[in-house]
Amino acid sequence: MLAVLKVVRAVAVVVTRFYITACTALLLLLPLVARSAILPEDRADLLYHSYDGGGVTIEGPSILVRKQVGDSFSVSGNYYVDSVTSASIDVITTASPYNEERTEYSASMDYLRDNVTISTAYTQSEENDFKAKSLHLGISQEIFGGLTTVTLGYSRGWDTVGRLGDPAFAEDVDRENYRISVSQILTKNLLMELGVETITDEGFLNNPYRQVRYLSTSPRGYDYEEEVYPNTRTSNSLALRAKYYLPYRAALHGEYRFFTDTWGIDANTFEIGYTHPFRDNWIFDFKVRSYKQNSADFYNDLFPFQGAQNFLARDKELSTFSSLSIGFGVSYEVNKKFLNFIDRGSINFSINNIQFDYDDFRDVRVSATPGTEPLYSFDANVIQLFVSLWY
């Protein structure tokens, strides 16, 4: 297993080093091997989402509308809201429970010309202490008679981090994403996709409210100080996914992703799923996803003393942990035209249960000798209910 991980890591590093060069070369050459492509379908989705777990509830709508304009353009707009009520373990041990709302708007445009699809998108999100803007560019091309699709992408993001109660606090983060994916028809029943993405961040990368704890002579045995992160981070991800059409009308899918970053985090994600249509109108989905990561180099649940090192983190997202998600979804399709301008629609429900188990993040709500508190774990339910219309 270790040898496999080393090989995967080596492949990820080699691919990352050279795929920016590859992107440039392919951008120049793709039009020479052009075949066929189509624009995305015209559809509208109205989604209600809900996350409930670990003392946090987040819910809200997401509305996505896409429409073709003329023969060559397709435009889309997305409105998304997270309404957050948080009394998570981080909040109740070092701060006060809070409510907040995050609103996100996106607009995108796809342009199809001579079998090349060029995509652009702009996203803006805002909450009372965090603003984010990002611009996305992509180019996609089918080659080898439509057996292979190559997609290149680049994103640039600009965030502004604030801190409630401190109007003078405003820090910037700049982000860049480079993506390349190749999807391949292997047989008349099997599709595969390989994706690689490099992300770089620069700026204020820690959470302005989170704190780390260190051993002290106080009555409880420890105290808190502000966390300090490096102000740069670069990560590489490599994902391989496959979808297989079974001898009867049903599909299996599998996915593996390897992740590594300059903070010392390595992560592995595995997912398998099964899609089963039933009669003409129903589709059932089942999936299991396993995720495991090791901690960042500068993470510690309990530092030996104040200012023990130059970078300090106790965010559980940077700790060593694993999670297991089990998901179920059902979709009911209405084929008849129930309005003049609507061709068909579907009603969809899905639930995912995620169990998080932390290996070096302790539950300090329990009084015990510092460093011997029970390890923290929690589970969350993620529910989606949405209606889709095609027109």
């Binding site: 020479l32 080659i143 994103s155 992300i199 899918h253």
Partner: protein
């Protein structure tokens, strides 16, 4: 490095010249199963984009999720 760049350029040249004449081994008329919506990696973009957001906000890993990507714009 130079060897890999040379390899890339040669491969790209082959793609641009001879390989574009490769006969697709799965003919267009044999792709009806692949065109079935159940074979889509992201059948409902609004839903998969939301789930990526859920995971990104709680995990150290990010990227290569498929779809447009670009981060979750959250802290």
């Amino acid at each position: 490095m130079n060897r890999l760049i040379s390899l890339l350029v040669i491969s790209a040249g082959l793609i641009a010249s001879g390989c574009s004449d490769i006969e697709p081994w799965v003919k267009p008329y044999e792709r009806d199963r692949l065109a079935d919506p159940i074979m889509s990696f992201s059948r409902d973009p609004v839903s998969s984009s939301y789930l990526h957001h859920v995971y990104q906000a709680r995990e150290g890993a990010r990227g290569a999720e498929g779809g447009q990507g670009g981060g979750c714009g959250c802290n």
